[in-house]
Amino acid sequence: MTAVELPAPRRNTLGVVLRARELGIVIALGLLVAVTAISNPRFLSGQSIRDILLNTAILAVLAVGQAVVVITRNIDLSVGSVLGLSAFTVGTLLQNNPGTPVVLALLVGAAVGGVCGVLNGVLVRYGRIPALVVTLGTLYVVRGVTYFWAGGSQINADELPQGFLDFGNATLLGVPYLVLISLLVLVVTAVVLRNYRTGRELYAMGSSPQAAQLAGILVGRRTVGAFLVSGALAGVAGVLFAARFGTIDAAAGTGLELNVVAAVVVGGVAVFGGSGTVWGAALGALLLTTIGSALAVLEINQFWQQAIVGGLILLAIGADRLVAVRVAAGLKKRGSHVS
């Protein structure tokens, strides 16, 4: 056998193309902000930006968790309900023990969500039930449990310790804690997904479940793990929700699941798993939130808001498809040849 001359490993041009997907969101975001700011400069005021970031923080945390699950070719529709349960649990805890430190509250929220996540993961993996079915089921169950528990009670801001409410608004060097927490979540998840074996295995599972099994990936553990992350992050988001809004009842977070999935989809995470990044998901969350605020500022009839969000989702997945087709065409031309 003769030695073969390999083409010098090319710079990862494909990766660049694929990343253009996220670039697209950034550009869309930039345009939106520019247009809005021109029509009303107060849109760029510190308070306004802070508000947008605060509102994004919660959705972004949820979207990061959702992205992890979607990458494994699953979906978690129970996040809104889990957020509600976590928010109510933590609210009750703080109501009864006003001295509870915020960190503990976050941990409790994460634990509550984590338990729900593990339940989802176990049912998906070991019950062999499609994730859509399981999490649609737990969406109902968890919400029902929260209603049972909460009944008509509502936890108001004045029943929560001031320290906790401050945490919802306080800043570190001008950046709100909530935003810092969601950034931390985002960076850690992104690094794990990109640079650690565990993360790559999640992509592998989403890309081809059978192959993942045959490759010796501990599919069960990883599936449960992905749902655990999604659940725990929904739990954390519940605590952030409680701190941000101060009023918690059994309906907290109702219907949020579709927003979260929308953010993830807009962010370029393929619903069939295997591709996409949490950066994209977080950008998707930021874009959706910014649209909401911009429409209010631009005085566009708020009734248009939902329609515009819907149109945007279609646009985003359409653009995604266009890129994918281009890339695929490029790949076909690059088959191997035995030399």
């Binding site: 056998m1 074996r197 099994q213 045959l214 591709s275 790949l331 191997s336 035995v338």
Partner: protein, 498 residues
Amino acid sequence: MAALLRVRGVSKSFGAVAAVRDVSFDLYGGEAHALVGENGAGKSTIVKMLAGVHRPDAGTLELDGTALALTGPADAKAAGIAVIYQEPTLFPDLSVAENIAMGRQPLGRFNTIDRAAMVAQAARLFTRLGVSIDPNRPARGLSIADQQLVEIAKALSVDARVVVMDEPTAALTGVEVERLFAVARSLRDDGAALLFISHRFEEITALCERVTIMRDGKHVSTDLLADTSVDEMVRRMVGRDLDALFPKQDVEPGATVLRIQGLTRDPVFKDISFEVKAGEIVALAGLVGSGRSEVVQSIFGVDPRDAGTVEVLGKTLKPKNPKQAMAAGVALVPEDRRQQGLVMELSIERNVTLPRSRSLSQLGFLTGNSERRSAKEWTERLKTKYGRLSDEVGTLSGGNQQKVVLAKWLATGPRVLIVDEPTRGIDVGTKAEVHRLMSSLAAEGVAVLMVSSELPEVLGMADRVLVMREGRLVAELSRAEATEESVMFAATGQEATV
């Protein structure tokens, strides 16, 4: 010498199907061991037990004399058993390098993945295999042959002591097979044990020293290859004597049935023109990836075309309209049985009657009776083995699945039968039946167009051989002109090395 891996009395059942029953054989370090048997004999099931995918119902595996309890593929990998599965198992979204390294990616600082090292490793493996695939490209879009090559690189990357290959060559051509064998021999010479599964005897005799034969899930014999003949092996596999293979009868060709003119689809194939007459079997030969499948898929209308015409009995077919092609009497037995040939989750009867559900209906309604009757008739004609007609077709062995595909298309009463790799992954017995069938169809006046990568099959069956190279029709050889050398020369554009 002590056996490296011992398979001792393993059994495995799936529901009521006993796939493997009490099979024992030994693998020695430094030997290449063939495992042969008819479709559904249980070969792949043995492979999956060695890989830790299935756990044996009974019996044990021993590595170096100690019992091996595999709870999953990870265990097998850890024990040094590398497996190339019958079906490619790649991650389409991940890069080729990552596919190869999955689970064992080289680590750098803080246990993060060292991408550069990972790519370099893949590049080294490809060099060793003598192929040029960009390690950075995603696996999506690789041709079947390239996918198989990546699988092989994957198995090589583990430095395994036992390498199991379940029909690794089914999608490869001569050159690639030779390259694979070179690597396999070097592994063997380094002391690894090779378990090699193939339906092609010339490959088995070229590579292996010993052969284990299975039939109906049971172990029949394990011998030195030097001590047995191919005929003997075949007899043991099928449990009876076989007629000669490739029994194409001579038929006086009739009128032209299929006429292709200037068929083009950039960049896959260009300006393809040929004719097939009634009673003729025309083979479309060429290297893997030369565009043959795409040509026939375009003729049938499942793939688009940029230019050119397709005529059946003087009627011009519209592009992208398989329904019209079917109505005109064209049938296509596609190359990828699992994806294109069958709906794996549907029952046998539904699969057999799927293209004819309209003609089987009464006033547009189907009760299921006419379908069942027709499916029974055709599966019996093709001697398909199955439990019940309502079983999912996916539970059948590869060969029986192929028979269902054939039944499905023969039942449409085609005037033009296009078969793409009709005997890929099919055992000798079934192969002979398929050949006999094609031959008798030709005798009945059907025009047969056959895509095949197996030269003996091409030479034995075809009245005429068309050869494609890089998307173009480069040669047309009559039966007399067609030899191994002439076909390979046309296909590669150079003197054959095989």
